[in-house]
């Protein structure tokens, strides 16, 4: 019996959090979803996780760019500067892809971006992206992300 995936979601809109839950459920992804409702809480969680010797504890971060207090950009940079989570897969959820997002996605193999779902098709697609990222980089993946 495999452990459920540990997934962080930094997102302030409950409707979108519920959508992600829905996407995970419809794709039968066995996971525990931890909600970080603003940038400050996201940064704090990242710092605590990184200082904990029992690592890694996170398989995926789903990140909204427009977070209260600190934006997604800051959160992503902090995550990438940690010791243990610099290669943790990240899905950036956005309604408008910016140049910054595109550039980072091009450089950072473990980061993808997808638009926030506005239809059931897109919802299914989001679930597929999550599954794909977990398969590629998550715990027990065939190609775990190499340590830096």
């Amino acid at each position: 019996m495999t452990q459920p995936f540990e997934i962080l979601i930094a997102e302030d809109n409950p409707a979108d959090i519920a959508l992600v839950r829905e996407a995970l459920r419809t794709n039968n992804i066995d996971c525990v979803l931890h909600v970080l409702p603003d940038g400050e809480k996201a940064l704090a969680r990242i710092d605590i996780l990184d200082s904990d010797p029992k690592t890694p504890q996170v398989d995926l971060l789903i990140l909204d760019m427009h977070l209260p207090k600190h934006d997604g950009e800051t959160v992503l940079k902090r995550l990438r500067s940690t010791r243990h989570y610099s290669r943790t897969p990240v899905i950036v959820m956005t309604s408008l892809a910016s140049r910054w997002i595109e550039d980072n996605a091009a450089k950072d193999g473990a980061m993808v971006y997808c638009s926030k779902p506005s239809s059931l098709d897109e919802l299914l697609k989001l679930g597929a992206v999550v599954r794909n990222m977990l398969n590629l980089y998550g715990r027990g993946a065939e190609n775990p992300a190499p340590e830096q």
Binding site: S95, K116, P117, S118, S119, L123
Partner: protein
């Protein structure tokens, strides 16, 4: 009146000699003679005509005139008139200007030329005086002075700086507003070069202005920048016209400078306000998309997941919810399109209209074939418009022509372009339902619709977008229509990008 003439007159004696009287009577100049005491002994007919009276000989003294005044209007007693002064052995005053009044109240200006008559021993035996009528000259001088004063008052009270300069560019006059505008007083600047007012990076303007003036041309509303005495710059509009002398030679220029700093600021303010508004509309329509997305996907989820648990009415309500969300989505995305129109983008600035039309027709192939419309176009020009903008124009106008087709006949849509002097006029004509005359202007307004969404779908933004695109290029858009027969939408595109240049 020269000394010789007066000497010659004194030789004519006291007017008692009939031969000299004949000469004196015939003279066209007023003349009279007195004895040593100043009593008039003779006056000629010109004197009567001028003074308006015939004095009593041997009684009236000093002067033939009725009343005399000095030039400043103070009354001059007869015994102090130049003739009286001369006869009393005083100085002979020449060439002064006097005013006289006739018994009928009319007045005239004259210059007296008095002389004394002496006998062989040199004793004063009488006097002779010529009165030269200078009324017409004085009136003309007065008129000119009045006109000059009036002109001066106009120039000085003008809000615009009025300056004149000669063809060397030396300032020759400077009004009060020029002082106010440029900070130099008239004393400081007159006689100095006009280039003092020109910022160093615009000095080349002056020779070009002078060249045009020499050619007799005016420079009208030339908007430029000039420098104040304190070195600050100001935006002004210059109108410069050549000034000619009496022979018609150009001797200089008059320049009217209007301060347009405030207007410029207002223009910049409006531009900024418009940009802010655009930015606001963009952000607003962008942010509106977010809650809309939730609305859409959750109503879809509800419909998919729970349709078997909902009753008929709940499903109907859900249908309205979803239709509303879909409509709002189109509206917001059209509005975003509207706010994004700007020619300050990157990419090509000219478009081959044939290519733009082909792209649009390909993208609309479905709705065109569904409507059975026949689309005819002639060879179209390449115009200085961004391809995306031209495509949008075609898309919206042809889209409307297809949408508002008449069900009674096969839709026919013609796309043409006519070349005119300074612009291209594109026309998209159809044989559709047409537009009533009272709506011809209204339809270009944002959110203006003529039909219910049951009849024809739409957001009322399409033509507003067209209007906005055309305005970006300083063109015009309008519609000619015969209700029930069809509509022709026309828009113009100036041949050059900036029509001001």
């Amino acid at each position: 009146m020269t000394a010789q003439a007066r000497k010659a007159l004194t030789h004519l004696g006291n007017g008692s000699d009939p031969a000299s009287r004949e000469i004196l009577d015939a003279l066209p100049v007023a003349l009279y003679i007195t004895d040593a005491e100043g009593r008039l002994t003779y006056f000629n007919s010109a004197a009567v005509a001028l003074s308006g009276r015939a004095p009593e000989l041997g009684v009236d003294k000093w002067c033939v005139t009725w009343k005399i005044f000095l030039a400043d209007g103070t009354p001059l007693p007869h015994d102090q008139c130049p003739m009286a002064v001369a006869l009393k052995g005083g100085e002979i005053v020449e060439g002064i200007e006097c005013l006289a009044e006739r018994p009928d109240g009319t007045r005239f200006w004259f210059t007296p030329y008095p002389a004394v008559l002496r006998d062989s021993q040199g004793r004063i035996t009488g006097g002779i005086n010529l009165l030269v009528d200078i009324t017409s000259r004085k009136l003309e001088q007065d008129k000119a002075r009045q006109a000059g004063l009036l002109l001066g008052a106009i120039v000085d009270s003008s809000d615009d700086a009025i300056i004149s300069k000669d063809l060397n560019g030396t300032i020759t006059s400077w009004n009060k507003s020029a002082e106010r505008l440029f900070g130099y007083t008239a004393e400081e600047i007159i006689g100095r070069p006009v280039t003092l007012l020109i910022p160093p990076d615009r000095l080349e303007e002056e020779p070009r202005i002078i060249a045009r003036l020499k050619a007799g041309e005016r420079v009208d509303h030339f908007e430029t920048i000039r420098r104040r005495k304190d070195g600050t710059l100001l935006d002004i509009s210059l109108t410069i016209s050549p000034v000619r002398d009496a022979k018609g030679n150009i001797i200089g220029a008059s320049k009217i400078a209007r301060d347009i700093t405030e207007r410029r600021h207002a223009e910049a303010e409006i531009l900024r306000a418009n940009r802010d508004l655009e930015q606001f509309a963009f952000s607003a329509s962008h942010d509106l998309q977010e809650p809309l997305r939730s609305l859409k996907i959750y109503s879809e989820l509800l419909a998919r997941r729970y349709s078997d648990k909902l009753d008929g009415q709940a499903l109907e309500f859900l249908g309205y919810l979803r239709a509303g969300a879909t409509r709002m989505e189109v509206l917001v995305s059209d509005l975003l399109g509207y706010t994004r129109i700007s020619k300050h983008e990157e990419g090509p600035e000219t478009a081959d209209a044939n290519a733009a039309l082909a792209i649009v027709l390909a993208s609309m192939a479905g709705s065109i074939s569904e409507s059975g419309a026949r689309i005819v176009s002639e060879s179209l020009p390449t115009v200085p418009v961004r391809p995306a903008h031209l495509q949008q124009l075609f898309q919206n106008l042809i889209g409307n022509a297809v949408k508002y087709r008449s069900l009674e006949r096969t839709p026919e849509i013609h796309v043409t372009a006519k070349s005119q002097e300074a612009e291209w006029t594109f026309a998209i004509s159809d044989n559709g339902i047409g537009i009533a005359p009272e709506y011809k202007e209204k339809i270009f307004g944002l959110f203006k619709r003529l039909h219910t969404s049951e009849e024809y779908s739409g957001t009322g933004i399409g033509l507003a977008i067209c209007q906005r695109i055309v305005a970006e290029y300083h063109g015009r858009i309008w519609v000619d229509s015969e209700p029930g027969q069809g509509s022709t939408f026309c828009f113009t595109i100036p041949r050059t990008r900036n029509s001001v240049e």
